[in-house]
């Protein structure tokens, strides 16, 4: 900013241009247009005029727009002959109390009383009526700008997170981190569209960290180049290679197994040992599923494409589709419930839903969980399909060091154990043991396919799902 003699140049020229002469008799007008925005000396002289029609005019010191909006603006006239001071008749007393209180009393009389006394809406209408429409519009515009102008100011030692994961699920992690480092964490949670928001915010974006609940969304961020590559020995050491981006732009923090739940009562269904078995016509009318286009099913289909190609995958999906007991609906929790209700005997679910039902506060949910046995499929070949939740550092983060530190925290022993304790998810860090509750369901072989492949194949998987109408 340019300064002249230690003051802002705009202010300097404004004062030079006559503001200093406002309390003199020298006539300086800025012309009709400018006088609607800036108070000229001639206008301020009107403010001090004794003439009755000049009462309560031109209150502004620098800006005239407030007078304009409020209807107290008076433009300077070339031939104005003014007498300054106050009228001799107006002698209201000069004690301190009167000076302080009279403005309030007068304002009350002028403005508020009629509103309270008369029909409110009509007095508002007449009140509005006195204003020129243009001024009204200006006021509305200013009000809008004022609301919009409340920018989200962000302190230095704060971390901003865009999260696809529900607040109540990540809060324990954030609290633990804040307690450890003193960093305040701000969160925006939305399930869809955050990538577009980040994209359109560009380099002005306040986001530091992105957290997602599945690989597909994480991949979208990487795809649109919204993530910064992270160089961290800690992250490389604690996240296995197939669970992170080859360019180190994103990392998995927890794993979920996509497993098969079968009714305890259905003896024959316990023979299922592979996902492939679900397409067997002998299960006709006995399988329940959530819609195929849900990310978890889509990821499973993508892993199939990786293992057996598109055509075989489609045959399999068609087979599962033909075996469904009812139209695909509800989430994985609802599938377990359907087994309990006897609608079907077999369902594909994410492991943590079982964990949550099993330890639910509601007795009936524990009953649902008790009605099923779990099968970890494909133990003799590629292993059970795994999903991840993960995250990365925003490309335009202003606080990258802190962001990386937060990611590192999420792979630490403390946080990795939290994943298991809160949401029955498996830790990614090989150094952290699987929590007891989860280990009790059985040890199993995981599908080790690089998780990035799943994201690559997701569009193809969706096409397969569309074709079979799952």
């Amino acid at each position: 900013m340019i300064t002249v003699l230690g003051t802002n140049f705009i202010l300097f020229f404004f004062n030079i241009a006559g503001s200093n002469l406002r309390h003199s008799h020298i006539y300086i007008s800025y012309g009709g247009f400018l006088e609607r925005f800036l108070i000229s000396p001639a206008q301020h002289q009107i403010h001090h005029s004794v003439a009755t029609h000049h009462y309560d005019r031109n209150f502004g010191t620098v800006l005239a727009i407030w007078d304009w909006i409020g209807g107290s603006l008076e433009l300077a006239k070339r031939d104005q002959a003014l007498k300054f001071g106050i009228d001799e008749k107006q002698d209201a007393g000069h004690d301190l109390k009167t000076l302080y209180l009279s403005p309030f009393r007068e304002a009350w009389q002028a403005l508020l009383r009629p509103i309270f006394k008369e029909n409110r809406l009509m007095s508002f209408v007449t009140f509005v009526n006195k204003w020129r429409a243009a001024r009204l519009l200006l006021l509305i515009g200013l009000a809008f700008a004022a609301v919009a102008g409340v920018a989200s100011s962000v302190g230095a030692n704060e971390l901003n997170i865009y999260s696809h994961r529900q607040p109540f699920l990540i809060k324990p992690f954030l609290d633990a981190y804040t307690e450890k480092t003193g960093t305040k964490i701000n969160v925006v949670y939305a399930s869809k569209g955050l990538a577009q928001r980040l994209l359109s915010e560009g380099d002005r974006s306040p986001a530091d960290v992105i957290l997602t609940v599945d690989i597909a969304r994480l991949h979208v961020y990487a795809d649109k180049e919204l993530l910064a590559p992270v160089e961290s020995e800690i992250l490389l050491a604690s996240v296995p290679e197939h669970l992170r981006d080859p360019d180190n732009k994103w990392f998995a923090f927890s794993k979920r197994a996509r497993i098969i739940a079968v009714a305890k009562t259905a003896e024959d269904a316990h023979s299922i040992s592979r996902y492939e078995d679900l397409a067997d016509p002998k299960w006709k009318g006995r399988i329940c599923s959530r819609p195929g286009s849900h990310v978890y099913n889509r990821a499973l289909v993508a892993s199939f494409i990786d293992a057996v190609e598109v055509e075989k995958t489609q045959e399999w999906a068609q087979g599962v589709m033909d075996n469904l007991a009812r139209r695909p609906q509800g989430n994985d929790r609802a599938q377990v419930k359907a087994i309990f209700e006897g609608v079907c005997d077999i369902a594909i679910i994410n492991n943590y839903y079982y964990g949550k039902l099993n330890t639910s506060e509601k007795p009936e949910q524990r009953e649902w969980a008790a009605a099923v046995d779990l099968i970890f499929p494909n133990q003799d070949d590629r292993g059970t399909h795994m999903n991840i939740s993960g995250g990365g550092v925003a490309k335009h983060s202003k606080n990258k060091e802190e962001a990386v530190r937060f990611l590192e925290f999420l792979t630490s022993k403390e946080a990795q154990e939290l994943y298991g304790a809160i949401n029955y998810e498996y830790p990614v860090n090989p150094a952290v043991p699987v929590p007891q509750e989860l280990a009790a369901w059985g040890e199993f072989k995981e599908d080790q396919m690089p998780i990035a492949r799943i994201a690559d194949l997701a569009p193809q998987a969706q096409k397969v799902i569309d074709r079979v109408g799952w």
Binding site: V125, A133, V188, K192, R197, K337, P459, Q462, D466
Partner: protein, 555 residues
């Protein structure tokens, strides 16, 4: 309507844009910009995905959407029109309370009613449980029970909460119809309902129905929960599943154009009719007193929609709270309620002001282009909320970057985002989306005013603005309040846009509920969910009191 004086008739008049027209033009353009942004997104390459979609899912999406729209239209018309006519025409026990209680379902978000009905009607719910106990059935294979998660279920739950739009608009239209018209019908031996009330309420009914259909086509929560494959569900599958925003935006634009065509069709159909009141204000129709069986059946007919759309969902939620599944009341929830309330109030105010401005200027000053522009500006409702939010975010991003370039060039200081990530953006998005509601309500009020009114005021020497404020606005006060309160209730329920556009750590009741409802854990958020509904009751009550007072003035 410019006052030209005869003396200089031979001089060519200078054509200039009046500040009013300019203001409306700019306002309409600002409101259209997010819609334009969606179209721009649709302009990108969709990688030949259309062929795949056409071959596989699109026909199903379109059929389902059409069936859903038809079904919801029928349900809302039946519920809305019959109840509006009954409470306006007959006097029976509990008519007074029923009159405003019929509006209550408007306060229930569609995603909540879908959830509560599933809980109510599913296998483990009270209805089937009672049936099993009564008939000794063992499990689901022993008997047949209608599946709530189906097309019929979706039609039913959406119709049950959307009919108040039709009811509301129709009722005001009947109230504003002078009794003389009905008397003439009686003298001529014609039906008062078919020959007078229905034809004269047509603009109002179609305005209400348009809102219902736009809401239906853009709904995501209910169709996702019920797994009905509509266009909107398809949009999200394409966008998130195939990672193709362009193709998703294209489907949305097709759906959008579909709605526009529908609206234009209706507009053309009544283009040559006038709905002005030509005479002086006269009395409204006196209600006929019904007792005994007829009175009771009126009571029954009017209470059905209330029970279905309000009592049952609220009862289920209350049940969750009483059983102690819900989170306890905390300050966090209170703050969320405060946020919901203030955002709703601000948006309602802005929508009414902007809709009044656009409509009055186009109505009294004419101009086909301006009319088209302002109608376009009130179609944001036809887009799924999330997609419109993407449009808003894109438009805001463009504004922000030009602003920051300006600031950085002029003053050499880095600028913060002006819009992105502020509450202003949420408000802007809601104004764009819910413009249709305010616009529809005010339009149906304004189309009843003869243009002569304005001419008379102008001839008597008042400026356009003065005439607007002192003559026109008081006459459409009723429509303004109706529109404003409907917007208020709708913003209270609004979810996807607030979710995506809000600033850090900012919760409304709806976003608070959503984080639980997303995982089908609504029980835990039953208390804030109830709060959404209860906050919606207050404006509903005010709305009714105003209508009643207006009706009283007429009598």
């Amino acid at each position: 309507m410019v006052n030209t004086v005869g003396t200089n008739r031979e001089l060519p008049t200078l054509k200039w844009i009046s500040p009013w027209n300019l203001a409306v033009g700019i306002l309409a353009f600002i409101l259209i910009s997010p819609i334009l942004a969606v179209f721009v997104a649709a302009g990108a390459d969709s990688d030949g995905l259309w062929w795949h979609l056409l071959e596989t899912v699109l026909p199903r999406y379109v059929t389902n959407t059409l069936v859903l729209m038809m079904g919801v239209a029928i349900v809302t018309l039946v519920f809305g029109v019959t109840t509006a006519w009954i409470v306006a025409r007959y006097e029976f026990v509990f008519r007074g309370p029923l009159e405003w209680m019929l509006l209550l379902p408007a306060a229930v978000p569609a995603y909540l009613i879908a959830y509560t009905y599933t809980d109510f009607l599913e296998y483990a719910g009270p209805v089937q449980g009672a049936l099993r106990q009564a008939f000794g059935w063992q499990n689901a294979r022993d008997y047949w029970f209608p599946e709530i998660r189906s097309m019929e279920g979706a039609v039913f739950v959406m119709g049950a909460v959307l009919y108040p739009y039709v009811y509301m608009m129709m009722r005001i239209a009947i109230l504003l119809t002078p009794a003389t018209y009905f008397e003439i019908a009686m003298l001529a031996g014609r039906s008062k309902f078919w020959r007078v009330a229905l034809p004269l309420s047509r603009p109002a009914i179609s305005a209400g129905l348009a809102l219902v259909l736009m809401e239906t086509i853009s709904d995501f929560g209910t169709v996702e929960y019920f797994a009905i494959e509509t266009l909107t569900l398809g949009i999200f599958n394409v966008w998130l599943g195939m990672n193709n925003l362009a193709a998703a935006a294209q489907i949305a634009c097709v759906a959008f154009l579909f709605v526009i065509i529908l609206l234009v069709f209706e507009l053309k159909a009544r283009a040559h009719r006038r709905f002005h009141e030509t005479g002086r204000r006269s009395t409204v129709l006196r209600r006929r007193v019904l007792t005994g069986i007829p009175g009771f059946s009126c009571l029954l007919i009017c209470s059905i929609p209330i029970i279905l759309g309000f009592a049952i969902p609220v009862g289920v939620l209350l049940g969750f709270v009483i059983e102690g599944y819900s989170l306890q009341f905390e300050t966090e929830m209170l703050r969320a309620a405060g946020n919901s309330f203030s955002i709703s109030a601000i948006v309602a105010f802005l929508v009414v002001v902007s809709a009044c401005l656009m409509l009055s200027v186009t109505h009294f000053r004419g101009g086909k282009f301006l009319y088209a522009l302002s109608s376009m500006a009130s179609t944001g409702y036809a887009f799924p909320g999330t997609l419109l939010a993407i449009g808003v975010v894109t438009a805001a991003g463009a504004i922000d970057s030009s602003y920051s370039i300006l600031v950085e060039r002029l003053f050499g200081i880095p600028s913060q985002a002006l819009l992105s990530g502020t509450i202003g953006l949420v408000i802007f998005a809601c104004v764009v989306r819910f413009q249709a509601i305010g616009y529809g309500a005010i339009n149906s009020g304004l189309s009843r005013l003869p243009t002569n009114l304005m001419n008379a005021s102008r001839v008597l020497g008042h400026s356009f603005g003065n005439s607007l404020i002192s003559v026109v606005l008081p006459l459409i006060k009723l429509s303004m309040i109706t529109g404003g309160l409907l917007v208020f209730v709708d913003v209270m329920k609004e979810l996807p846009m607030t979710l995506l556009l809000r600033p850090f750590n900012f919760e409304t009741l709806a976003t608070f509920v959503y984080q639980y409802a997303k995982d089908e854990l609504l029980e835990e958020a039953a208390l804030p969910a109830l709060a959404i509904i209860l906050t919606g009751i207050l404006p509903v009550f005010i709305m009714n009191a105003t209508i009643r007072r207006a009706a009283g003035e007429n009598q």
